[in-house]
């Protein structure tokens, strides 16, 4: 699938030299061209010059907080960002995701899992404007006609269910937080009503996760949100 001409560029922003070295080694075996940055400032500069396809960001940086780097980055860039941190509190994760991170991985981590996550978040990024049809595995969503099919068969969704699926599909591979979903589907005043979400999500799952398609299309990130990523 990787085209030989355009090598993928990854930017690692982490102050730990060992982690950087390790990530560089493991990402290079995955075929990435890896650039490193030790501080937040350096990282932001590198994000401008190197035009990375994906950024791996540590939250505990010496000069500024990782969340701050994320905010500044999101002012101008849509480059997928994976946050890699020792902080494992739920709140930290949600904050990072709400501030524009695409995924979150806590240290210690498995190299294989990192690679998989990077693949997932990279996919949805560039051509979201042009595509009017979304496809993952057996699931197909036609944004222009609001038609949803599984294995070519029509699935009937209510307006709310369709809205949920659309938000998840547009953020393919990315963890969409409860708050994000609620805001997109019900509006900002509903941000604290996460208990509704479960009910709708269950309905949606029942309709699109058919018996034949055993792989779970919609994954639950416990306490954080949901992620739509089919077998691609």
């Amino acid at each position: 699938m990787t085209e030989p001409a355009a090598q993928l560029v990854a930017l690692v922003i982490d102050d730990e030299v060992q982690i950087r070295r390790l990530l560089k080694l493991s990402l290079e075996t995955e075929g990435y061209l890896v650039f490193e940055a030790e501080t937040g400032q350096e990282g932001l500069r590198a994000a401008v010059y190197r035009r990375p396809d994906v950024i791996i960001l540590d939250l505990g940086l010496p000069d500024m907080d990782g969340t701050e780097v994320l905010k500044r980055l999101r002012e101008w860039s849509k480059t997928p960002v994976l946050v890699l941190s020792v902080r494992q509190e739920l709140e930290q994760k949600v904050t990072a995701l709400d501030n524009g991170a695409d995924d979150y991985l806590t240290k210690p981590f498995h190299a294989a899992e990192l690679a998989a996550r990077l693949r997932a978040i990279r996919r949805h990024s560039p051509p979201e404007t042009a595509d009017s049809v979304y496809q993952t595995g057996a699931l197909q969503v036609d944004y222009s006609t609001r038609r949803v099919t599984i294995h070519g068969r029509d699935v009937h969704l209510t307006a709310t269910e369709y809205a949920l699926l659309r938000v998840l599909a547009q953020n393919h591979g990315k963890v969409v937080t409860h708050r994000h979903l609620l805001r997109e589907v019900w509006g900002p005043q509903a941000e604290d009503q996460s208990q509704y979400l479960r009910v709708y999500m269950n309905h949606l799952r029942k309709k699109i996760e058919t018996a034949e398609d055993a792989s779970k299309l919609i994954q639950t990130e416990p306490g954080i949100g949901y992620r739509l990523s089919g077998s691609d």
Binding site: E16, L22, L90, P108
Partner: protein
């Protein structure tokens, strides 16, 4: 512009508030009669029996039957609270037991003779004050009262029967009564009852019949009683109209102001005004104008009494100062929007008034504009008139003035006599004048005037020819003599007045200086102890009193031990007075109306919205407290209260800041440690994983895979221990904030399983969650970690391949999570010990430090939940978490 007749919002609000107060307080019913023997007590008991039949919890606090058989019979069947026996100077007195009643808290209490004066040593000097306290705690009271005991009618009663009544109750208590029952009996009937011996027994009948119970007296008293009742009913009606906004109830915008002073007639004026306003239903103000002339001790005491009488009778008391009485009165009247001014008709010196531009009353009338001025005749009865002493500046004895004045006059006379041939007799007059000026700075006015007169006579007798006679021959000598006399008087007077003014200035300055020193001391002192010590010192300097300071402690109650800054200690009884002062936010103890028998004056230390303590002042040997002294002390107390509150706030701020600093330090340290340990672990784990991938590709290195697995297992274990140690530290330090979020239990369980996935990989994990489990609001991280630890524990203690069951349910307000394994079960007697830190069970596999379960307990404690463990009926153990949660059931069909 004329005011429209609509209710003034303030008045309406006040009416509503008063109405509310009445609702919250106990209800007072007064059985009012014209005199003894009309059957008030009888009527009260009758009614009490009715109420008792209704099932009301009522007790008799005190009833005076005067051994009348009918009344005594009515006491049968009513519960009585035993009277309290008081020993006083060898005799035993019986008084109502207020505390016993307050403790019993009945719905209704019968208290006879409202105007009774309590035995010395009781909490309140008067019984009506006891009744007020009962009402304040919400207990209803029935009481009886004779018309002659109402404060504002005392003068009228005296005019009728010629006896001054000493036992009185203020009119305000009538205002507070929710019900007035008039017990009326025609005079003839009463006299009949008296004759039959139903009122008094034995010989008393005759004397009573001849004196008090004369027919004309009774008729007058009866009329008075009927009138008072009518007024009260009228007033009630007006109150009803006010609250219901009935048009026409707003005809009077009247407000009265009565001018009072230290004169003994002021009390009469106050009573007159009170009677008038109660008929008009108008508010009233009592104003006292302080002039620069100081008052004698007696006058000060009388003024204080008069002012407190005015307060008791419901007046708003205004004290102001100014040397021109008329101007000041009119200024206050304008400020207070008064419509009528009440002044007494005083009998002054005619010529002096003419000299000052008319009498006070005349000037008032001339300058008052549209203000009505009521001039009231006072002092009809000579019996209240007592000589008032003006201007006793210092308390040095008169003898000193006489000796000093006489001696200096004699000395100067002798010297002048010796020099008379040299100087001539005219110069001698000047020498005398000089002496008068000198003495005027030393002696009081009356002495100076006597000396001036004496010197004039001496000069005439000894020096003006013909000597040794009082005759004056020469016309210029006569002129000289008259002039001398006048000049001597004026000089004496002026100097004395100057001194007075200087004296009062000095007094004022002393006060200001004392306050300034106190304020300065407060600012300069760096600790509360030092500040209080200074305050105690200043109070001692100003009043000579020793102080005990009691502050309110953390629990909001007054501390039992006095603050070490005090110089006095309190007995348990005095402490009770202090508590009273604090709770009622008003001074109590000596020199007050509450518990005046105490040793100390207790001033509450109160700020606008805080009660910080009490300062108790113990004065040396029966010192009388002057009005301005007491005011100064109260101001002191307020200052001290503000100071204490300020220190408290500073302390509070300091504590908060310290906590913040240490929180910050802790967080930095914690983050640093966790980062430093976890990063190398992460590197090891990631590198191992990577290495595994590489080794998999190369055939020659495949045999190395088991070693990699060992490294991975070890690093995971190390990681878990680090996590546990960090969690333990966090829980034990109490440095966590709970931010519960709405979540789904199945998500928590799956997240916990993920956390310890490697440990559970060789077990069969079953999860049992009912379909209708509601969403719960809970601290996600704590529950997840607890579950993960329990699951890890289950996996470690049971055979691989065996089953681990995780189940969830809710009961009323708790989330119940269970983790069951099929291991060896709990160790004997280990059911509680397993949750102890570093405890390891007998079947514990190697590795692990015994923190997992103690962390679970810590987390549960933090959430207000519990963890427990039991053995399963067949095999293994079950761990149960019970966590209080908020829950929300969402219908599946939305």
């Amino acid at each position: 512009m004329k005011e429209p007749s609509r209710p003034n919002p303030d008045a309406l609000l006040a009416a509503i508030k008063q109405e509310d107060e009445k609702l919250r307080r106990g209800r007072l019913t007064i059985f009012l009669g014209m005199c003894a023997g009309v059957g008030k007590t009888y009527a009260m008991l009758k009614m009490a029996h009715q109420r008792k039949a209704d099932g009301l919890d009522l007790v008799v606090a005190v009833v005076e039957t005067h051994r009348r058989p009918e009344t005594q019979a009515l006491l049968e069947g009513l519960t009585a609270v035993p009277l309290r026996t008081v020993e006083y100077r060898g005799t035993t007195l019986q008084e109502m037991d207020l505390d016993a009643i307050l403790q019993r808290r009945p719905a209704l209490v019968l208290v006879d003779e409202l105007a009774h004066t309590n035995a010395p040593g009781s909490r309140h000097p008067k019984r009506y004050q006891d009744v007020m306290e009962l009402l304040e705690t919400g207990i209803d009271v029935y009481s009886t009262l004779n018309i002659q005991h109402i404060e504002s009618r005392v003068d009228l009663v005296r005019q009728i029967v010629g006896v001054t009544i000493r036992e009185t109750v203020p009119d305000t208590i009538l205002d507070q009564a929710t019900d007035i029952q008039l017990v009326d009996l025609p005079p003839d009937a009463l006299r009949e009852r008296l004759a039959e011996g139903k009122v008094y027994l034995g010989a008393m009948v005759q004397t009573a019949s001849a004196n008090f119970f004369r027919e004309e007296n009774l008729t007058a008293l009866r009329e008075l009683a009927l009138r008072v009742t009518a007024e009260l009913v009228n007033q009630e009606l007006r109150e009803v109209m006010t609250t219901r906004r009935i048009e026409g109830a707003w005809k009077t915008n009247a407000k009265l102001m009565v001018a009072i002073g230290p004169s003994p007639y002021s009390a009469e004026l106050i009573r007159w005004t009170r009677r008038t306003v109660s008929i008009m239903g108008a508010p009233w103000v009592a104003v006292y104008v302080e002039s620069s002339a100081p008052l004698s001790e007696e006058e000060t005491a009388r003024l204080a009494k008069t002012l407190s009488l005015a307060r008791q009778l419901g007046a708003q008391v205004v004290a102001t100062s100014g040397d021109d009485l008329v101007k000041t009165l009119l200024r206050v009247a304008r400020e207070e929007r008064v419509t009528q001014l009440v002044v007494g008709k005083t009998l002054g010196l005619r010529w002096l008034e003419w000299f000052k531009g008319g009498s006070l009353v005349e000037r008032l009338i001339r300058e008052s504009g549209d203000l009505d001025v009521c001039v009231v005749q006072t002092g009809q009865s000579r019996e209240t008139r007592t000589a008032s002493k003006r201007l006793s500046l210092d308390l040095k004895p008169w003898s000193r003035d006489i000796i000093l004045g006489g001696a200096s006059i004699a000395l100067v006379t002798v010297i002048c006599w010796l020099l008379r041939d040299v100087t001539g007799y005219w110069a001698i007059a000047l020498v005398y004048l000089f002496l008068i000026i000198l003495l005027a700075t030393r002696l009081r006015r009356r002495a100076i005037i006597s000396i001036a007169a004496a010197s004039a006579l001496l000069w005439n007798f000894l020096f003006i020819p013909p000597a040794f006679t009082l005759r004056i021959n020469q016309i210029h000598d006569l002129l000289m003599f008259v002039m001398y006399f006048i000049v001597a008087l004026v000089i004496g007077n002026l100097t004395a007045r100057l001194r007075l003014r200087e004296w009062s200035e000095r007094k004022r300055e002393q006060r200001t200086a004392a306050l300034y020193r106190l304020a300065q001391g407060v600012v300069e002192s760096t600790t509360l102890e030092e500040g209080l010590r200074r305050a105690v010192q200043e109070i001692h300097n100003a009043s000579g009193a020793d102080c005990a300071v009691l502050l309110v402690g953390q629990d909001g109650r007054l501390s039992t031990t006095p603050h070490p800054a005090g110089t006095w200690t309190l007995t348990e009884k005095e402490r009770g007075v202090a508590v009273y002062a604090l709770e009622h936010r008003e001074p109590a103890g000596r020199h007050t109306d509450t518990l005046p028998e105490s040793d100390c004056l207790h001033l509450p230390l109160k700020t606008v919205n805080n009660k910080v303590g009490v300062i108790a002042l113990h004065f040396p040997n029966n010192k009388t407290l002057l009005l301005d002294e007491r005011e100064l002390l109260e101001t002191f107390a307020d200052q001290v209260a503000v100071m204490v509150e300020r220190y408290w706030l500073i302390q509070e701020a300091g504590r908060t800041q310290l906590a913040e600093e240490s929180e910050k330090l802790y967080k930095t340290l914690f983050d640093c440690v966790s980062h430093e340990i976890k990063t190398p672990l992460a590197v090891i784990q990631a590198a191992t994983g990577e290495l595994g991938l590489v080794f998999d590709l190369v055939k020659e290195t495949k045999g190395a895979q088991p070693f990699l697995k060992e490294i991975e297992t070890a690093s995971r274990r190390l990681g878990r221990i680090v996590d546990n140690l960090l969690s333990m530290t966090r829980i034990e330090s109490g440095r966590y904030t709970l931010t519960p979020v709405w979540c789904d239990v199945d998500e928590i369980i799956s997240s916990a399983r993920q956390q310890v996935g490697d440990l559970l990989s060789r077990h069969q994990v079953r999860v049992l969650i009912p379909d209708d489990l509601p969403s719960v609001k809970v601290e996600w991280g704590f529950v997840e970690q607890s579950l993960a630890n329990l699951a890890a524990n289950a996996a470690l203690y049971s055979e691989p391949g065996s089953e681990i069951t995780i189940s969830a349910q809710v009961d009323d307000s708790h989330l119940v999570l269970k983790v069951a394994d099929q291991g060896p079960g709990l160790p004997q007697d280990g059911e509680t010990r397993i949750f102890e830190k570093f405890y390891r069970g007998p079947h514990a596999p190697p590795g692990g430090v015994g923190l997992g379960l103690s962390i679970v307990r810590g987390l549960m404690t933090a959430l207000g939940g519990t963890v427990s463990a039991t053995n399963n009926p067949t095999r293994g153990a079950t761990f149960i978490l019970r966590i209080p949660v908020e829950m929300k059931r969402i219908p599946e069909s939305l």
